[in-house]
C-alpha cells in the first residue's frame, strides 16, 4: 500500500561520496594495531602494568559512555558493577579455578545480571534520582559485602591467581593484551550499535522517550539492554583489576572510583568515545606520575575543577570540540536560512 511513497529506485541518494576520508579507517586500524605491539616496543614491567591499568580504566569509562552518552541513563552505579565483577572473578577464576578464557565471560554474565538488576530497581526513577539511586545501590552492595564472611568481610580475599589460557595474568603484557581485546570488543560493539537499529532506538530513548515510544520503541527494554552491556564490561574491568591489584576488598566499591571515571567521562565528553579514551589515558598517566610534577597533592582538586569547569564552559566535553566545526557551520546556516515560520 505504500508503493508510491517508497520506491526503491532512487538508490543514488545512498551512494558514498568519494573523499580522502576513506583513508582514515585505515589509519585507525594501523594505530589500533600499533597499540597491540606497544608493550613489545616499550618493554618495561611497571610501565606495561600501567598500560594495562589504563586499558581497564578505558573500558570502565566507555561503559559510562554507553549508559550516559548513548542511552541517556545517568548512572553512578559503575562501582557496583565493577566491584561485583572483581569479586566474581576472584570466586570464579581465582578460587574455583575456571580458566579466564571462559571465566571472564562468566564474570561478564554476572555483571550483566547485576546491571540489569540495577536497571530494574532504578529505572522507575529518572535523571537526578536515577543517578542517586544507582549510587545508593553501590553503597548497599558495599555494605553487604563488607559484612559477608564468605567474601572475606572487610579484609577481602588475597592469595589467588587469575589465569587466562593457562597463563597467569600477573604478567603485565598478557594482562594488557587481554584488556585490550575486551576494549576493542567494546569499541566494535559501540560503533556497530550506534549505526544500527539499537543505536537509533537508544538515541530516540535519550532524545525524546515520548517520541521513541510513538514509533514502537520499548524505551525501558533498551535502557535495560544498555545496563546489561555496561554491567558486563564494567564487571570484566573489575575482574581484570583483581589481576592487576592481586587482592580484592570492599574498596573496589568505593565512590572515589566512580568519581574519577565520571570526571573522565565528563571531561572527554559523554557522547564522545574518542574524547573519553584520550582523557582516560591522559588522566590515568597524569595521576600515576603526578608526584613527578609535584602535583600529587592536587590530583583530586584538579579532578573536581575539571568537572566544574568542563560542565560550565564545555558542556559537550573535549569530544564536543571534534564536532564543533559542524555545529558552528550549522548555527551559521540557521541564521542564514531561518526566515519566519514560527509566528
Amino acid at each position: 500500500m505504500t508503493d508510491t511513497l517508497s520506491p526503491a529506485t532512487t538508490g543514488a541518494t545512498g551512494r558514498r561520496a568519494p573523499s580522502a576520508g576513506n583513508l582514515l579507517p585505515i589509519i585507525g586500524v594501523v594505530v589500533a594495531a600499533v597499540a597491540v605491539v606497544l608493550p613489545i616496543l616499550v618493554d618495561d614491567f611497571a610501565f606495561n602494568y600501567l598500560m594495562s591499568y589504563t586499558v581497564i580504566t578505558c573500558i570502565l569509562a566507555l561503559t559510562m559512555h554507553l549508559l550516559m552518552g548513548l542511552a541517556g541513563v545517568f548512572s553512578l552505579g559503575q562501582a557496583a558493577m565493577f566491584g561485583a565483577g572483581a569479586y566474581a572473578a576472584v570466586v570464579i577464576i581465582g578460587q574455583t579455578g575456571i580458566d579466564g578464557t571462559l571465566g571472564l565471560f562468566l564474570v561478564a554474565a554476572v555483571g550483566a545480571v547485576i546491571g540489569i538488576l540495577m536497571g530494574l530497581v532504578t529505572l522507575r526513577t529518572t535523571d537526578l534520582y536515577l543517578a542517586l539511586t544507582t549510587l545508593a545501590f553501590g553503597y548497599i552492595v558495599e555494605n553487604l559485602v563488607r559484612n559477608s564472611d564468605w567474601l572475606g568481610g572487610p579484609q577481602g580475599i588475597t592469595g589467588f591467581d587469575i589465569t587466562f589460557a593457562g597463563s597467569y595474568l600477573d604478567e603485565p603484557k598478557l594482562l594488557y593484551w587481554v584488556g585490550l581485546g575486551f576494549l576493542y570488543l567494546l569499541i566494535v560493539i559501540i560503533m556497530s550499535v550506534r549505526r544500527s537499529k539499537v543505536g537509533r532506538a537508544l538515541m530516540a530513548t535519550r532524545e525524546s522517550p515520548i517520541a521513541a515510544r510513538s514509533i514502537g520503541i520499548d524505551t525501558r527494554r533498551y535502557k535495560l539492554l544498555a545496563f546489561g552491556v555496561a554491567g558486563a564490561f564494567a564487571a570484566v574491568a573489575g575482574g581484570l583489576y583483581t589481576a592487576y591489584a592481586l587482592v580484592v576488598d570492599p574498596s573496589v566499591f568505593g565512590i572515589d572510583l566512580t568519581l574519577s571515571v565520571l570526571a573522565i567521562a565528563i571531561v572527554g565528553g559523554l557522547r564522545s568515545m574518542p574524547g573519553i579514551i584520550v582523557v582516560a589515558i591522559v588522566l590515568t598517566y597524569f595521576r600515576n606520575s603526578a608526584e613527578t610534577f609535584g602535583a600529587s597533592q592536587y590530583v583530586l582538586l584538579i579532578y573536581g575543577l575539571l568537572i566544574v569547569l568542563t560542565l560550565r564552559f564545555l558542556p559537550q566535553g573535549l569530544g564536543g570540540l571534534l564536532t564543533s566545526p559542524r555545529v558552528l557551520a550549522a548555527t551559521r546556516s540557521i541564521r542564514a536560512r531561518f526566515h519566519g515560520g514560527t509566528q
Binding site: 545517568f74 530497581v121 522507575r124 553503597y139 568519581l259 575543577l305 566544574v308
Partner: protein, 288 residues
Amino acid sequence: METFVQLIAAGLVTGTIYALIAAGYAVLYTATGFVNFALGAQAMIGGYLTYVFLPELPLIVRVLLAIVVSILVSVASWAFFYRQVAEKDMLSAVIMSFGFSIVMAEFVRIIAGGIPLPAESPFGSGVQQIGILSISNHSMAVLVVGIVLFAALALVFRSRGGMSIRAMFQDKEMAETLGIPTNRVVIGLFALSGVFAAAAGILTGPILSMSPHMGTSLALIAFVGAILGGLGRISTAIIGAIMLGLLETLFAGYVSQDYRTTLVFAVFILVLIVRPAGVFGSKTKVKV
C-alpha cells in the same frame, strides 16, 4: 526505657543536623528545581572557619565569618556557575555541585591537612541529667538552635516575601508578570541556604570532629532524609530528615549497627520507587 529515651534524644539530635542541610536543599529546590550537593561542603568550610582556621579571633566573630563565607560561596557559585548550566540542563548543574564539593574539600585538605581535627563546643563539655535522660550541653544546643532556625524559616515563608517565593514555585513566568523579581529572590534563597549550611557545620564540628570530606556523606544522608519526607515542601523535607535520624538510631540500637548504611540507602531507593514525592509529599509530580 532509659535506653529508648536515650536513643530518641540521640536520633533527634542527629536528625536535626540532617534537617539543617535538608532545609537548605528544600529552600532551593522549591524555587528553582536545583539540588545543591555542595551544601555539605559549605557546612564543612563553616566548621573549619569556626574551629580551625582562626583560633585567635573571638568566637562570635568566627561564627559570623563562617556564616558570611557560606552565604558568599552559595551566592557566587549560583551566579557564576550553576545558573548558566541549570538553564540548559538541570542535571548537569547538580553534578557540577558534586564537583564543587570535591573542590572545596580538597582545597581545605591542602590548607589544613587530611587528619581530623578537634572542635571544641562553644557550649562546653558539660552534661545535663534530665530525669533518666543524660544529654550534653552541645546536643541541647543543637536542638534549640535547630528549633529557632526552623521557626524563623517558617516566619519568613509566612510573610509577604514568602508568598512571592511560593508563587515562584507555582509558576516562574507568572511570578515575573506579577512583578516579583525572581532573580533577586533566588539569590536571597541561596543566601538563606548558605546560613543553614553554616549552622549545620558549626553544630556538627564538635560532634564529628573536623575533616575535609565530612560534608560529602552529610550531604548525601541529608538528601535521603529530605526525599523521605518530601523535597517538594520545606516542612516535609525537615520532618523527613529528622525522621531519618530517628529511624537510623533506633535501627542501630535495636536491630543492627552493621547494616545501618544498607538501611539508609534501601529506604532511599524504596521511597523513590514507591512514593517519589516523599512520605508526606503531595501527589504532584516531582521533577528534576
